[in-house]
């Protein structure tokens, strides 16, 4: 029996969680039949189980709600707001009772009768006793079993052991020089183990939806309590995160959201006065950014009033007026993370619980995360929680220094070059070291100095990017590229500020994962975002006049070149690496399917140039990389325009075709690799929808059709006149511009159109 009750509790809890979004949607529109049915099914299931499990109180409550809902379903009753509140109260009580049963405590039942009466509060109705079980067939449950996380942990542990044993076995077999049959069996074992590890890792992942589904209800309740009106938009629920991590960010997220409603969103009256929509808007959005998950909570409320915040802290005596006056605006905003701060004039029931943003930040940092702010007074506040995808496998590159290996997340590495690369210049600027690589100057940090290890040669320089800025990190040598399971290290280790976690690679020797931002801090690097454009001094601009070209021999044996800045790296791929997807060749790089250009047979062992434009990745098959040369920017025009050739450069007296990366990305990049959007304003002839849309979509834009430019968010393309406020590419029907000030683009000028669009996309992306 206990098992059954446990099962019932778990199931009820789960359904309630999933239901909370439905409930809010139903409340907004009580006639919504699908939502009504979902709630009805819930109370009906609870009623059924309770009768069987002998839980009379739950049975009575769910029965009452079921009766009421059934009457609505049969049209005998109109779901007014009293009725909705009464049903919600019962659903809440069912949740409370379930928790009480789980914890083995009792809950006062004097109120039950009131709840039941509230349902019948409206004109008395006679509901049919036989509730519609037919509706239970509506949703088939997904095939699943419920497992304890502990069991999953043990499975994961066993999996890692298995990998280590396999590695040892492989080493011994190699040393002993075993027969080919044994080697073949070992290979099969390796493949199976790798697949299994992948699967087991995924069992720990959960869609962040399970965290988000409770938010609509929370927003509703909090807003109701405070007399505010809030519209909640939730995006990115399909982002996957380790389930332990999800538990860890549950409270911080709830707190940030309550704060947004309580302190951020103004009262409806005040909003009207300010000319804002009466309903405050809160957007909660999750996305994966490299090896991190970003959860952004933004509101359109009043933002952080830094003056008020400062006055309060000065009054408290924790800050002096002089200190405050010296602070930058960003530093002033950061004051919200000081203990004992609340900008609300009155301590409210909701967020004035003594838990401040300081606790939120501490909790997020404890799991290796970051809380960042973006606020504009009067315009709202964005709080970004950034947490690592801990326990999920990340791709990392190891570097050696002083005889020890350290891992750097692949996403933090922009490029790695040999220290004796002729493109690399080192300068001593006062007490600091600076390297110049192609057209960039950046600070140089010796990893050995940071870790107090004796450097042995400093053979490589990795250009790494922290969230604040990029810098060059010198180490002795580069190690393997590995897929690693990163776990947070002990607090003693994390307190050094240099490590992001620890990992146990296949070698069986633990390895520390470097925290690139932490290293920048330890090294005392100071990045100032606003100052960055000014760093480009004259000398560097002169260098940018010439462009660096990677020379290679193509798969057809012809020497060609491509701009070096786009080449991420060169990779060798084994036999059968090329597969045909959707009729086009693709290769897998870092676990992602990437389109392959340059032509290659499926059976070859090939090298590919991995090209990256910041968003999309394209692979270009080559026979061999030859050299890096600098050429003048002027190119001779290519003989034919359609072949993806930018132009022809003279290198060592020979003409060499230079590839047009723009063409490559436009042709190879597909919508799924890109996140660019564009709206087209429909015209009467259907030219936009019929002619232009396919063209723009083939370049990788996600296209929406709109009736007027004002409807769209983001870049818009419009044919004919345009006086819209937003970013608009205006097209004209005539080939010649209407006048010297005409900035429109001729509608068949493909390059001009894309250039204009590109510019808008870039601008929009930075805004």
């Amino acid at each position: 029996m206990d098992d059954l009750i446990q099962e019932f509790i778990a199931e009820t809890r789960e359904t309630l969680e999933a239901l909370s979004g439905e409930i809010v949607a139903w409340e907004a529109n009580p006639t919504d039949r699908a939502r009504l049915d979902a709630i009805f099914r819930f109370v009906h299931t609870v009623k059924g189980s309770c009768g069987f499990l002998d839980l009379p109180r739950l049975a009575r409550l769910s029965h009452a709600a079921e009766d009421g809902l059934q009457a609505v379903r049969e049209g005998k009753r109109v779901p007014d707001s009293h009725f909705v509140d009464a049903v919600l109260a019962i659903v809440d009580r069912i949740g409370e009772l379930t928790e009480a049963i789980d914890q083995g405590r009792s809950l006062d039942d004097s109120d039950d009768e009131n709840l039941i009466r509230a349902i019948d509060g409206a004109p008395a109705i006679v509901a049919a006793e036989s509730a519609g079980p037919a509706n239970d067939r509506g949703k088939l449950p997904a095939r699943s079993v419920r497992l304890g996380v502990e069991l999953l942990d043990r499975m994961m542990g066993g999996m890692s052991d298995l990998v280590l044993v396999r590695n040892e076995l492989a080493r011994r077999i190699r040393d002993a020089g075993a027969a080919p049959e044994i080697e073949a069996a070992l290979d099969r074992l390796s493949t199976t183990v790798a697949d299994l590890r992948d699967t087991v890792t995924r069992t720990r992942m959960q869609r962040i939806e399970s965290l988000f589904s409770a938010l609509p209800r929370m927003a509703r309740d909090t807003a109701a309590e405070l007399g505010k009106a809030v519209t909640l938009v939730v995006e990115g629920g399909d982002v996957e995160l380790d389930r332990e991590m999800i538990e860890m960010i549950r409270d911080p997220l709830a707190h940030i959201m309550r704060n947004a409603i309580d302190h951020g969103i103004e009262s409806p009256a005040e909003r009207t006065r300010l000319g804002k929509r009466e309903n405050g808007r809160i957007r909660v959005c999750a996305r994966q950014a490299g090896n991190q998950i970003e959860i952004i909570v933004s509101d359109d409320g009043r933002g952080i009033d830094t003056e008020k915040l400062g006055r309060k802290l000065i009054d408290q005596g924790t800050l002096t007026a002089a200190e405050f006056a010296r602070m930058s605006e960003a530093a002033k905003r950061e004051l919200i993370f000081r203990p004992g701060v609340s900008t609300a004039a009155a301590v409210t029931q909701v967020s004035g619980r003594g838990v401040g943003m300081d606790v939120v930040r501490a909790n997020v940092e404890r799991i290796g995360g970051v809380v960042a702010l973006d606020s504009e007074a009067g315009q709202g506040l964005s709080v970004v929680i950034r947490v690592p995808l801990t326990l999920s496998i990340i791709s990392a590159i190891s570097v050696c220094v002083g005889g020890q290996r350290f891992a750097i997340p692949r996403t933090a590495i922009e490029e790695i070059v040999a220290a004796d690369n002729p493109m690399l210049h080192r300068d001593q600027v006062g007490s600091a070291s600076v390297v110049r690589l192609r057209d960039r100057a950046m600070p140089l940090v010796q990893l050995g100095d940071i870790l107090a290890l004796p450097a042995e040669g400093s053979g490589i320089i990795a250009v790494v990017s922290a969230s604040e800025g990029s810098f060059a990190l010198a180490a002795d040598a580069i190690g393997d590229h590995e897929e690693l399971v990163i776990k947070p290290a002990a607090p003693l280790v994390m307190a050094t500020g240099r490590y992001a976690g620890e990992t146990l690679p296949d070698s069986g020797m633990p390895m520390l994962v470097l925290d690139i931002s932490g290293i920048a801090r330890v090294a005392g690097l100071r990045f100032d975002r606003t100052a960055r454009p000014d760093q480009d001094n004259g000398e560097i601009e002169a260098a940018a006049d010439r462009r660096s070209i990677l020379l290679f021999r193509g798969t057809d044996g012809i020497r060609r070149g491509i701009g070096l800045s786009l080449v991420d790296r060169i990779e060798s791929l084994g036999h059968g690496a090329v597969s045909i997807v959707g009729g086009k060749p693709h290769v897998v790089l870092d676990g992602r399917v990437v389109p392959l250009a340059g032509g290659a047979a499926m059976t070859d062992e090939i090298s590919v140039l991995r090209l990256h434009d910041g968003v999309a990745t394209v692979a270009y098959a080559i026979d061999q990389a030859l050299d890096i040369v600098e050429i003048a920017p002027e190119l001779a025009p290519p003989s034919e325009r359609d072949g993806g050739i930018l132009g022809i450069a003279l290198i060592d007296g020979d003409p060499v075709e230079i590839l047009d990366p723009y063409w490559l990305f436009a042709r190879q990049g597909q919508a799924s690799y890109l996140e660019r959007t564009c709206a087209l304003v429909a015209d009467a002839d259907g030219w936009m929808a019929g002619m232009l849309r396919p063209l723009i979509e083939s370049a990788g834009y996600r296209v929406t059709m709109v009736a007027s430019p004002d409807e769209a968010e983001g870049p818009v393309v419009s044919l004919g006149e345009t006086r819209a406020k937003g970013p608009v590419v205006a097209l004209r029907r005539d080939a010649d511009p209407g006048g010297p000030d005409d900035r429109s683009v001729y509608r068949y000028d493909r390059d001009g159109l894309f250039a204009a669009l590109e510019q808008l996309s870039v601008k929009g992306g930075r805004a």
């Binding site: 542990g157 890692s160 870790l451 003693l492 280790v493 620890e502 633990p510």
Partner: protein
Amino acid sequence: MREELYLITAIAGRAVAMPSHCVDSVVDLGPVVPVPAAPPHVRGLAALRSKVVTVIDAAIALGEPDAALAVGRAVVVTVTGHVYAVLVDRLEDVAPFASSRLPDGVNLDAGWSKAARGVIDRGGEAVLIIDPAALIAGTGKAAEMLAA
């Protein structure tokens, strides 16, 4: 008086007792990878089956840096979800003892006093009880940093 099971080990040449309920297991550690820039009593990381454990030198944590231990025998403890292996000199005995409070007036050094939990009487010899979990924070700056 109720007796409890104690592990009797030696740290810095002195016998100490650890309550067995504080200890997950006793292991022999393999190679240790150092953690640069960590406090001195953090000897590094070691692989224990499929887990990475943080290796703590009990002698240095107790403020006896000259008695730094060889990597080998360690007691495994779990503190706030992290697993630590606390190096000890040798394991002498596991037996039930009754504990008593530290005699009045005994003055221990800072490192020892933080970990001390009383004494047991082993055949007429008073043996200090220490809590291995208390060794993890170490002494000095690191401990303050973590406490903050």
